[in-house]
Structures are given as structure tokens and as C-alpha cells.
Amino acid sequence: MSAVVSRRIFGGTMLAGTGALAVRRMLSLGSVQDRRKPLSRVAILQEDSYDGPLDRTLMEGLRLFDLNLCGKSVLLKPNLVEYIPGAEVNTNPRLVGAAASAFLALGAKSVLVGEGPGHQRDTVLVLAEGGLQAELRERRIRFVDLNRDEIWKVPLQTSFTGLDCVSLPRTVLTSDFIVSMPKVKTHHWAGVTLSMKNLFGVVPGVAYGWPKNILHWKGIDRSILDINAAVPAHFVIADGIVGMEGNGPLHGSPRNLGRIVLADDPVAADFVCTRLMGLNPLRVKYLAQAAEFLGNGGPERIVHLGERLPSTAQPFAVLPEFAHLRL
């Protein structure tokens, strides 16, 4: 290992550890509230292809959680960035469609799909080219462009970015049950993009622009923490059937992982997904910090429903800047 890489690994690990220590201090001072539940539940489902029995697999997985959705409005938040032919950039439309149908079958009052892409202003184009428009039309599910929804200004629960408040879409703030549906990918700024980073998409472009530059400028890790504290996802369905490694989130290589990860805690979901990627979640700065107050990262507080994490995993390729994430 070269001296430069080992310095990077040391530096990156220190950075994540220091961030976690800072959160512990905030907890002790009472400036951050501990929201972790006693136990979080995760289910790793095997599914090798999008052409398989996705509806059935997903329904069987969701039943493991015994969710009470009666009378609830559900918002599915997939990860839609832009359409690049042949690249696994977005949450697969078939998985989104299967999730919508499953939640309706489980008693939800309504199911909406909503997203606000960060760079591409033409959300309809992303939907149409990526196949989600046709999928939702066939299943009669409505889509909301979160970039152009009505917005309400809400105070932030935490102050990692230093911002006092954030404008958020009405649809997000009035939904009873928010489901983050990320694509399992590496990310050239954040290391990994999973259910927590996916919530960048609820920040409306109409208020902040394309891209939502204020979030990058205030720090991606800090913004992820503030947004997830303000808008906690109630459930996660992570698309790891085919993920992306290397120079994600747009120009990496497809990586067959053959898994869908369900969880009732975004932090637990992201810890498990990161381990499935063969990477160390405690070295992802925002994950290490989130596990101190937002959700559970430690294996002792995560119950696996069904398949357990494999003992070894072939690590996802990462950019040299993120070499320290490898287990």
C-alpha cells in the first residue's frame, strides 16, 4: 500500500471517528436528541434480476415487518438522477412499481411516488426515459415532482449545517409513511449513496436551484444529517439487485449484488448495505455520526429477519479518495 493511500485511509478514518465523537458531545450537552429505538429490523432479500417475481418477493419481505399501514398515506421516494442508457443510475422502475402495489395491498390509504432530481430540471424526461412513467401509469400510481411542489418552511431539528430552517415539499411533510428507495451506489462526494443520502431529493429545486448547491456548500455529510433529522424516513427499500461501483453516482460500473434490503431504520439499512458493498460504514462520516443519534448501526441493535449478512463480501470498487472505506 502506498504512503499516500495509507495516509488517506488514516485521515478518512480519523475524520469519521472525530465526527462521531462530536455528536456524542452534542448528545451529552442536550443539543442533539437521541432518537434511536431499542432495536431495528432489517431483511435482506435475494433477487437476481428485475425480470424475476419482484412483486411476490417484495410482498413476502414486507410481511416480515408486520407494518400497520391502515389509513396511512405512503410516499415512495426513489433515487432518480438522470437517465443514461445502459447505466444503473436510478432505482429500478419495476421495483418502485412493485413497492407501490405492495403498500396498497397492505392497507395504505394512498401511495404516491415523489422525487426531485438534483441536477436535471426536466423531471418528466427522467421519468419517461427511465421507464418509471410507463410503470406508474400501468399501475395507476401518481407521481409528484418534489422540485416543484408547494413548499413549507420548517425549523431544523439539528444544526450540523448551521442553517436554522429548510423549505420542504408539502407532499413530504403531509405523508404519514415515507419510504426511501435508494439505488445501492458509490458516490464521488459522499462515499456511498443509500437511503439517507437519497433524501437530498426531498429538498426542492424551486427553492434552492439545480443543483441544491447550498447543501453541497454547507457540507454533504452535515446536510445529510440535518435533512434526515428533519424528515425521517419510516422505511427503506434499497435496490441492490444491480448496484453501481467506482465513479458513482452516474458514471460507475454496474455491480450485480442480487439483493433488496428492507429496514425500519434508515441508519440500520445503510449500515447493512455498506457492509454488503464490502465497505466499512463506520468510516463513512455521516453514517458514523448518524449511528450516534439517528438510528442503529451496531450489530447488537439490528435484528435480521431472514438472511444474515454474508461473512465476506467482494468490496465495491471506490475512487482513490474513498479507499479508506474498505473493510
Partner: protein, 323 residues
């Protein structure tokens, strides 16, 4: 009736339906228009006003028509993107509003402060410390931070879409004799240089990151459209020519929003490019079909943009700067 006359009538019929839909979507209490729902949107209102009032065959805008837009102007002349005056300043929304007011003949005194604030409004790269950061440590995105334009909102970096709209607005104001001076010239020059610097290598623009980690990112249709509209004076430059070529290869686009931008952006290049007119004719036919049922289009801005794109034969192009 010839096939082109039939096509023209089909497009005008679609446009009339779009304008009728716009009238039904006018916000009942506050006036103006929303993107979706009941919250005032500066962009949606500006585009709707232009679509309804910029055609010579339509009714001219009255002071009352413009009142909902004027009511949201902040004391420093800027506009928020949405909602009331508490939701924050936005340079894109401001440039869009001022361009609309100029075209619809509002009294210049009502937006004089807005023009001044636009000229003074600088993105973060204008500061030497931020430029130093990009030179020394933050080097994954290839761009020249000394060439800057306009940000979406204060205290952020400049991006292609707000820069393009600010250039269109300020250039129009300059030509109308509403503003001048060395600082304006400097900003117009820097803004154009910034757009050229951030163009995708093969042509076209996206939000503003053309090359990241050595990889060329794809252009976007609406950003390319706006940048081309702003750079019409530079039509002879290879990157502008390539961008026109790129946008004309996307007239099969399945989205009415981007298709409208293609038409509005490419049309001003008709007199310097023989391939523009035939492509725009096809795009207009396609757009008329895509918006056949305007009530199915969620975003009011898209309806207004489509009406403007289908009305070019008889109306004006609010994004065109006559050479």
C-alpha cells in the same frame, strides 16, 4: 388545404387549449400562477403572463395583470422563487420576472432596482478565498472559477440556468437603454465566458458540471436551450455551433418541457443555420401532440412554455435577443 397549413392549424388549436388551461389555473385569491397546487410561483407566473399577453393577437397586459408579480418583489428588487416574500431571494426568478416586465411594457421604474441588484449580485466564486479553494483543494470538477455568472440563490456558486437567464435579461435591458456602465459590461462578458467555460466537451450544457473526475457529463436540453438563447451573438463559435447541432438531434424528446425549450432556443438560429427550420417544424408538430390534453400536464410552467413555443409564428420569443 396544404399539409403545412393543416399542421399549423393543429398547432394553433393546441396553443388555444394551452392558453385556456392557463386561464383556468390562475390562482383565485392571490392572482398569478403556481407550478402545481396553490402556491404563487414567480417562474410560472412570468411564463403564463408572457404566453397570454405577448402575442400581437392577444390582449396587452394591464397594470392589474402584472400586479400579482409586482406584489412579490422584495425591497431590494429581487423576487423569491415561490410563495410570499419570506421564502428568500432567487436570481433566476428575478431575471425571469424582469424579462417579463420589460417585454410586457411595465414602467421601467418598477424594476430599475432589480436590474441594479442583478448586476451587483455575485456568486461565491467572485471571492478570492473561494477561488483559491478551487485552485488548491477542490479540483475534481473542471472549471475556471475566475469566470463566473449568477447563482440560483445568494451565497452559492454560479450555474448555467440562472446565468443564462440573467444574461438574456440584462442584455435586453441594455438594448432598451435601461441600464449601462462598465460593471454591466463586465458582468455580461464574464457571464458569457462562464457559459463557454462550462459547456460540455461535445456541445450542450448541463447544470454546470461539464467534466467531473475526468469524465464528461451529459448535457441537458433545457440548460442547453437557455445557454444557446443567451449566446446567440456567439453563433460562430464552434462550441455554440456544436450545441445547436446537439439540441437539434433531440427533437424526438418525450417531454413537452424540454421540447418547448428546444423550439424556443433553436428558432433564433434559423437565419444562420439552414438545418434549424425543418427540425423546429417537426418539433412543433410533436409538441402539439404531446400537449393535446393540457389538463394532464402538472406543471404550469410547462403549459406556458409550450404555448410560447407553439405561438412563435404569430407571437414573440421572450428568450430571443435580436442581433
Amino acid at each position: 388545404m396544404s399539409s403545412s397549413a393543416v399542421a399549423f392549424e393543429r398547432q394553433q388549436s393546441a396553443r388555444r387549449r394551452l392558453l385556456a388551461e392557463l386561464r383556468t389555473r390562475r390562482l383565485p385569491r392571490t392572482g398569478g400562477w403556481s407550478h402545481c397546487g396553490a402556491q404563487f410561483g414567480t417562474e410560472a407566473t412570468s411564463l403564463a403572463l408572457l404566453a397570454l399577453h405577448s402575442s400581437p393577437s392577444g390582449l396587452p397586459a394591464t397594470k392589474e395583470d402584472l400586479a400579482p408579480l409586482m406584489a412579490r418583489q422584495l425591497p431590494n428588487g429581487l423576487w423569491p422563487a415561490v410563495g410570499d416574500r419570506t421564502t428568500g431571494e432567487n436570481f433566476w426568478a428575478t431575471a425571469m420576472a424582469v424579462n417579463t416586465l420589460m417585454i410586457l411594457g411595465a414602467a421601467p421604474a418598477t424594476f430599475a432596482a432589480s436590474l441594479e441588484t442583478l448586476v451587483r449580485g455575485r456568486p461565491l466564486e467572485a471571492g478570492w478565498l473561494v477561488r483559491l479553494k478551487f485552485r488548491l483543494s477542490d479540483r475534481q470538477v473542471r472549471f475556471d472559477p475566475t469566470k463566473y455568472g449568477w447563482a440560483w440563490v445568494p451565497a452559492t456558486l454560479s450555474w448555467v440556468v440562472p446565468t443564462s437567464m440573467a444574461l438574456i435579461t440584462l442584455e435586453r435591458a441594455k438594448r432598451q437603454g435601461l441600464i449601462g456602465g462598465g460593471e454591466l459590461q463586465n458582468r455580461l462578458r464574464l457571464g458569457a465566458e462562464m457559459l463557454l467555460d462550462r459547456a460540455c466537451p461535445e456541445g450542450g450544457w448541463n447544470a454546470g458540471n461539464a467534466v467531473v473526475y475526468g469524465v464528461s457529463l451529459r448535457p441537458h436540453l433545457d440548460a442547453t436551450g437557455l445557454a444557446l438563447a443567451a449566446l446567440r451573438f456567439h453563433h460562430e463559435l464552434p462550441i455554440v455551433r456544436n450545441s445547436v447541432t446537439w439540441i437539434l438531434t433531440h427533437i424526438d424528446c418525450p417531454s413537452s418541457y424540454s421540447l418547448a425549450w428546444i423550439i424556443l432556443a433553436a428558432s433564433p438560429y434559423k437565419d444562420v443555420r439552414p438545418d434549424v427550420s425543418p427540425a423546429v417544424d417537426i418539433a412543433r408538430e410533436r409538441l402539439a401532440a404531446l400537449v393535446a390534453d393540457p389538463s394532464a400536464v402538472d406543471d404550469t410552467s410547462t403549459i406556458a412554455l409550450a404555448a410560447l413555443a407553439l405561438g412563435l409564428e404569430t407571437g414573440i420569443n421572450p428568450f430571443e435577443l435580436k442581433v
